[in-house]
């Protein structure tokens, strides 16, 4: 599916769609780096890395605006139809999700681990690390599904969000228990919950991108449908 746009009669139109596609992948790549750094900064309490994440977000914002403009241009000048139309609409929605995942990454990076380590049980930190890995995998896989226009890979990503949600439940329950048992841990537990919350939101947004991929490949709107149904062929 790499060259799905290569058959247009208009080579220019081809090039425009291909450029948009590779820009989205570049934006996704930047976001992956941001998220990786943010999780590291959070777990290792690395202020320098956290500052890098903060500055790096500007480039993601800029890319969203550039891709947005390119999509508007295609709509205005080419009046895309069918799969081209779904591609453009899918990109519009996807880059908005990516931009917000950038914002969430910034929030993750801001969370300090120093006080947390001192007052919270070590297991919670381990869970948070696991949750971070799950979300990193989701982001990687959904970008991969977008690059390959692979609907079944997108379905798998959408389904994996459940594991992230479970982790979030587990972490927030543990954090609340700490707060109940020891009032000195409130600040640390809150900070932990915010970080977990941001990761959970990134997982949700990866699921949204996965749904966009399914829409642009199959033309089916699978939002708000039970996940089991996503694998069934369209009727």
């Amino acid at each position: 599916m790499q060259n799905r746009h290569s058959q247009h009669i208009s080579r220019e139109f081809n090039d425009e769609l291909e450029t948009i596609r590779s820009q989205v992948l570049r934006m996704g790549g930047l976001l992956e780096t941001q998220l990786d750094k943010a999780i590291l900064a959070m777990l290792d309490n690395d202020a320098v890395l956290a500052a890098e994440v903060k500055h790096g977000d500007a480039e993601i914002n800029q890319m969203e605006m550039e891709i947005d403009a390119a999509c508007i241009d295609v709509v205005a000048r080419r009046q895309p139809a069918a799969s081209d139309l779904r591609f453009i609409i899918g990109v519009f929605k996807t880059i908005a999700e990516l931009e917000r995942m950038g914002d969430e990454s910034k929030r993750v990076a801001k969370m300090s681990a120093a006080e947390r380590a001192s007052v919270l049980p070590v297991e919670i930190n381990t869970e948070l690390r696991h949750m971070g890995e799950l979300v990193q995998n989701m982001l990687h896989d959904v970008l991969d599904a977008f690059a390959r226009m692979d609907a079944s890979a997108a379905v798998a990503v959408a389904q994996s969000d459940e594991r992230v949600d479970d982790k979030y439940e587990l972490i927030s329950t543990a954090a609340m228990r700490c707060m109940v048992e020891d009032s000195a841990s409130v600040s640390a537990a809150m900070s932990l919950m915010w970080a977990a919350r941001s990761l959970e939101r990134i997982g949700d947004r990866c699921q949204n991108v996965a749904e966009n991929v399914i829409y642009l490949v199959l033309g089916r709107d699978v939002r708000h449908l039970p996940l089991d149904g996503l694998l069934e062929p369209s009727g």
């Binding site: 208009s10 139109f13 069918a82 799969s83 081209d84």
Partner: protein, 271 residues
């Protein structure tokens, strides 16, 4: 004219059973050949009342031929053979007893190039009415006025009804021939690339008119302009090489076509 299929009744019954109640035209297993060359193959299509259906497809795909089957304009060429059924309000228009003149009154047609008669604006619209025997001055005036109003032309020509129709602009002439078609109170309007010679503003006026007319008529439009089909129609049929490749609600066909050939055509890819 009998359909040439081994199992016409079975197929037809199943097709008819699934039809919505407001179907005005049913085309069933229609085959058309021209000098032994098959130009339309097994067309099955239904047009619903008060809806606009667009026919799109590459040049020579048979869309104008299909349009002309609905008012038997192909009959004028004896090298043309039509088999299958076209039912207009349940009546087989290719049946022996069918009166072609009254059929064409029921099924009005507008062509690519506006073709007003070299007469006054008034006489153009009154032409069909006079043929039908409307003769009193006040009846004629009233019906001409109504037709011109329905065709969204009245305000532009009310002060010069007796000047020549040929003095009108292209866009006005196209609306005049629509008024002429409307005067005899057809049920169905066939539009064969009606906007292809119009400037963008006249084209938009015509599209606006189509949107108004569909409240009272069943409209079938052939157009090369896919964006126009997308704008004006409720249903779209994509034809290629004499076949009806895909028929769907316009919004479905232009976002999620089911057939690869439709996809390639509307996105401008090599077939």
């Amino acid at each position: 004219m009998p359909a040439q299929s081994s199992k016409p009744d079975l197929l037809q019954n199943s097709l008819l059973q699934n039809e919505p109640d407001d179907v005005v035209v049913s085309i069933r297993q229609l085959h058309v050949s021209y000098r032994q060359r098959q130009v339309l193959q097994d067309i099955n299509l239904s047009l619903r009342s008060q809806h606009v259906t667009a026919l799109i497809g590459p040049s020579g795909c048979g869309k104008s031929t299909l349009l002309r089957c609905l008012n038997r304009l192909n009959d004028l060429d004896e090298r043309c053979t039509v088999t299958g059924q076209v039912l207009v309000n349940g009546r087989d228009i290719y049946a022996v007893e069918e009166d072609v003149v009254s059929l064409r009154r029921e099924v009005g047609m507008v062509f690519q190039r506006p073709n007003p008669f070299p007469k006054s604006i008034f006489d153009n619209v009154a032409y069909g009415l006079r043929l039908l025997g409307v003769s009193t001055r006040s009846d004629l005036q009233q019906q001409v006025r109504k037709s011109l109003q329905d065709a969204a032309l009245w305000d532009e020509v009310r002060d010069r009804l007796h000047s020549s129709a040929l003095e009108l602009s292209n866009g006005q002439q196209q609306r005049l021939v629509i008024a002429r078609a409307l005067a005899v109170q057809p049920k169905i309007l066939l539009l064969d690339e009606p906007a292809s010679n119009l400037d963008p503003i006249s084209m938009l006026k015509l599209e606006e008119l189509i949107a108004t007319l569909k409240i009272n008529y069943t409209i079938l439009i052939v157009t090369h302009n896919m964006q126009q089909a997308a704008r004006v129609s409720d249903f779209t049929a994509f034809m290629d090489a004499g076949e009806l490749v895909e028929f769907a609600a316009t919004s479905d066909l232009f976002t999620t076509p089911k057939q690869r050939r439709t996809e390639d055509y509307i996105t401008g890819r090599y077939g």
